[in-house]
Symmetry: C2
Subunit: 210 residues, 2 copies
């Protein structure tokens, strides 16, 4: 096999970088990830692996964002998600009052921002501006999507019966946006006290499971 | 720095292998992972990252096991877990009848067995013997623990109010077992239709989050 020139069959287009490096060597996160609309029936595949997500709400003209790891799929289609939002979080009040939120899925490049969101309260701070997250309008809800996240799910609150006992909210995804060019997203998976497992490679096995 | 002999400070004990290789080059999974009792207050760190788990039940002398990805933490301590077990699963009936189960966390070496469990029904098959999984007695419940899994959580069913609407069971962990020698478990994370993300490396960030 000649080494001088790769066969065109072997050329693999490199994945689009999520950031560029400026002259000072700092990573500048690409502001606009090219998210496209995504089939609702496939949404479960985004949340099943258990990534940390950024939950966004808005109320009285103020956007808020919190980091969240306690979530699960409840139904394939329409996709339903159960999640725990503590009543000590500013987002708890927003979610109950507005009955909508967006679930945004960050990747490793955003790790520091995710932790910063988790370390602070939206009651006192505009986290979007403090941590350089870009709110983008959603299509079906008022809560903003986060431009820097590779996937965003527009959700409405459909069941609050488990809120008083478990702070457990049942959400239904009404619109999904994903940058499908990112095939193996390096999602963050919280292991407690600031330890995050980074998503590794994906293997494919013969499964009859959905 | 001398290359001939590593300084004792630099010697890192290699992780204990989860399998050995026999003369035919086949991987033989180490049958008995040295699980030790594990603090209940730390259990959330095992499930937050969203691993596929193997849920075990037993009824009328027959053990059963199913693969499950739809689970979330609900409370730190005592650790409470919410999970979806479809009423099409044999485990659904077992769990409702016996009100207990174990949640076992497999690693990459067990990927083929996890998929085999997901592809079959315990109504017709003894999956433990069919797929070479070893049941071990638990301490607080009758459902078996899986010897080959690096962590096992003994659980009792504490709330069934969401079962009829969402097949959502609330479990409380009453005893936890973990092989703490496995620092960065290569857990499996389902991405849909047999695609599994393998846990990558862990990073540590300054977080005030639990």
């Amino acid at each position: 096999m000649g080494a001088g020139r790769a066969s065109s069959r072997c050329v693999r287009r490199p994945p689009r970088p999520l950031h560029t490096i400026n002259r000072d060597g700092e990573a500048i996160i690409r502001k606009t990830i090219a998210k496209k609309t995504f089939p609702l029936a496939k949404v479960y595949g985004l949340l099943e692996p258990g990534p940390v997500v950024l939950l966004t709400t808005t109320r009285a003209g103020r956007d808020d964002v919190m980091a969240m790891s306690w979530h699960t799929m409840l139904e394939f289609e329409p996709p339903q998600i159960g999640c725990v939002v503590s009543n000590r979080n500013h987002s708890f009040t927003n979610l109950l009052a507005t009955r909508e939120c967006a679930i945004n899925i960050p990747t490793a490049e955003l790790a520091a921002k995710v932790v910063a969101c988790g370390n602070t309260s939206g009651a006192k701070l505009d986290k979007f501006s403090a941590f350089g997250l870009t709110p983008r309008p959603a299509s079906r809800i008022d809560a903003p999507l986060i431009a820097e996240c590779y996937a965003s799910l527009e959700c409405v609150l459909v069941d609050t019966r488990m809120v008083s006992r478990y702070c457990f909210f049942v959400l239904e995804v009404v619109k999904a946006w994903v940058d499908t060019a990112i095939k193996d997203p390096r999602t963050l998976h919280h292991r407690g006290r600031g330890a995050f497992m980074l998503a590794g490679r994906t293997i494919k096995l013969r499964s009859r499971m959905k």
